[in-house]
């Protein structure tokens, strides 16, 4: 029977039918996910009440993976309803120098951050440092949620990485660092005159014990926004996995002379921190608790200061290996010093996640 199947399948394989819905051939495969969401938020800022909701495809991502022996490439295409945008999230080429040692060129994600770019393990609906608008008056507040994380997102450059036995080192020279989130600023130049920037990222991680990993890294960016201003972000996180438990702790600190953080266009210091615990109470379900805090301070005398504390409780149930339902309730309590107003917000979010 083995031969019957294999010979028959040989022709099926040769004709490209019914085999490997994901692995197109030995050189090309793809993966991705769809996130259909509903969320509702009720906010209060001083005497103003506001409610809002979101229903739609929060995110769709299709990643194309190319593999040619020591050379690989990846192109990630993404749509986000939340910010009404289709874009190439990542597009890069990787050359393997030797086992664990790689050179990467192109547009790629930052090495920094535990719960800033993507929700950790997709266990929650929202990121640790994302809140509903009105907290800080910035151009970003047109969106349902503002991700105030100060770590970079995606930049273009050249990166060297080395990974062995859970230990990691990486260094990246790139066209920017933090300013990538502004979108309109110097998206494709590497230093030079007139509104240009360059950036550097360095990161390392150590496997301290089985399940225990410590990461530390930083990003520096030199801009020409206000006559050769500099900006930097430091990020460190510790994760521990034991049995059915996952724990995470993260610290972010950054200073920007170019107005690259939430207040924008002003010198600003930011501190962010997070602690989270995830417990899998069955083969299919887990519960997550998270506390995160953020403090934004304008770096001038009598400058604005805003801070917040966010409490998150989330539940995830996996119907199959590639279909899960995530429910979250988050409460944010903060203060917008600008208007000397208290701020609080209660959010319910639910996501149906399908991955392939």
């Amino acid at each position: 029977m083995k031969k019957q199947i294999s010979i028959a399948s040989a022709f099926v394989a040769a004709s490209g039918l019914s085999l490997g819905e994901i692995k197109v051939n030995e050189y090309l495969s793809f993966e991705g996910f769809v996130d259909v969401s509903y969320a509702e938020v009720n906010s209060n800022l001083g005497t103003q009440d506001e409610s809002d909701n979101f229903l739609g495809v929060q995110e769709v991502e299709i990643d194309w993976l190319f593999n040619f022996d020591r050379v690989g490439a990846r192109v990630d295409l993404q749509h986000e309803d939340n910010i009404d945008r289709n874009f190439v999230e990542q597009a890069y080429i990787t050359y393997e120098l030797c086992t664990g040692s790689n050179i990467t060129a192109g547009r790629y994600a930052t090495m920094l951050g535990y719960d800033s770019l993507e929700r950790t393990g997709l266990h929650q609906w929202s990121n640790a440092y994302s809140i509903h608008n009105a907290f800080i008056a910035s151009p970003l507040t047109d969106y349902f949620l503002d991700n105030l994380a100060i770590t970079p997102a995606y930049n273009q450059g050249l990166k060297y990485t080395y990974e062995s036995n859970g230990n990691f080192f990486g260094i990246s020279i790139q066209d920017g660092a933090i300013s990538d989130k502004l979108g309109s600023y110097d998206p494709d130049r590497f230093g030079g005159d007139n509104q240009s920037s360059y950036g550097l990222e360095i990161a390392g991680a150590l496997q301290l014990a089985p399940g225990l990993r410590w990461f530390i890294g930083g990003a520096y960016e030199d801009t020409e926004i206000n006559d050769a201003d500099s900006n930097y972000v430091l990020n460190s996180h510790l994760s521990y996995e034991t049995g059915s438990w996952n724990f995470g702790v993260e610290l972010n600190y950054g200073e920007s002379e170019s107005g690259l953080f939430a207040f924008q266009y002003v010198d600003e210091k930011v501190f962010q921190a997070m602690v989270s615990a995830n417990y899998a109470y069955s083969d299919a379900a887990s519960i997550t608790g998270r506390i995160s805090t953020f403090n934004h301070e304008e770096d001038i005398a009598n400058g604005r200061e805003s801070d917040g504390l966010k409490f998150t409780l989330a539940h995830k149930y996996a119907y199959t290996d590639n279909l899960a339902l995530v429910n979250e309730v988050s409460y944010v309590d903060g203060q917008v010093d600008d208007n000397d107003n208290d701020y609080d917000s209660l959010l319910f979010g639910t996501s149906l996640l399908f991955s392939f």
Binding site: M1, K2, Q4, I5, S6, I7, A8, S9, A10, F11, V12, A13, A14, S18, L19, G20, E21, I22, K23, E26, E31, L122, S244, N278, A280, D283, A284, A285, S286, K316, A318, T320, D321, N322, L323, A324, L353, S355, F356
Partner: protein
């Protein structure tokens, strides 16, 4: 077109390529899968999976799906191997006999 038109080299390449991708259709190989094996050991045994997914289940990181459909979905053979921390924690061997039964139908 006569049989002489079939390029034997091409047939040989096709057969070897197919067998490399379809080693997992050897029922005996599934009996060698053990809990704790690494993903590299599984690939060395069964070949590279045609489909894999980062699992949504909390106690599973990655699942290798070994699937092939000969004619239609009823004739599909499906096996899977689940990993946590790069070690096999669960697996399901394909039911090859169900395919044989289908093939015996007129």
């Amino acid at each position: 077109m006569g049989a002489s038109a079939v390029n034997p080299v091409a047939m040989d390449i096709m057969a070897k390529t197919a067998w490399r991708d379809l080693r997992w259709t050897d029922e005996g190989l599934w009996k060698q899968i053990r809990h704790g094996m690494t993903s590299n050991e599984v690939v060395a045994l069964l070949g590279s999976p045609p489909r894999s997914v980062k699992s949504m289940k909390p106690k599973i990181d990655l699942v290798y799906f070994y699937e092939a459909s000969l004619l239609d979905r009823q004739s599909m053979v499906k096996g899977r191997v689940s990993f946590k921390d790069n070690a096999v924690v669960d697996f399901l061997a394909p039911d090859f006999h169900s395919v044989q039964g289908f093939r015996k139908k007129p």
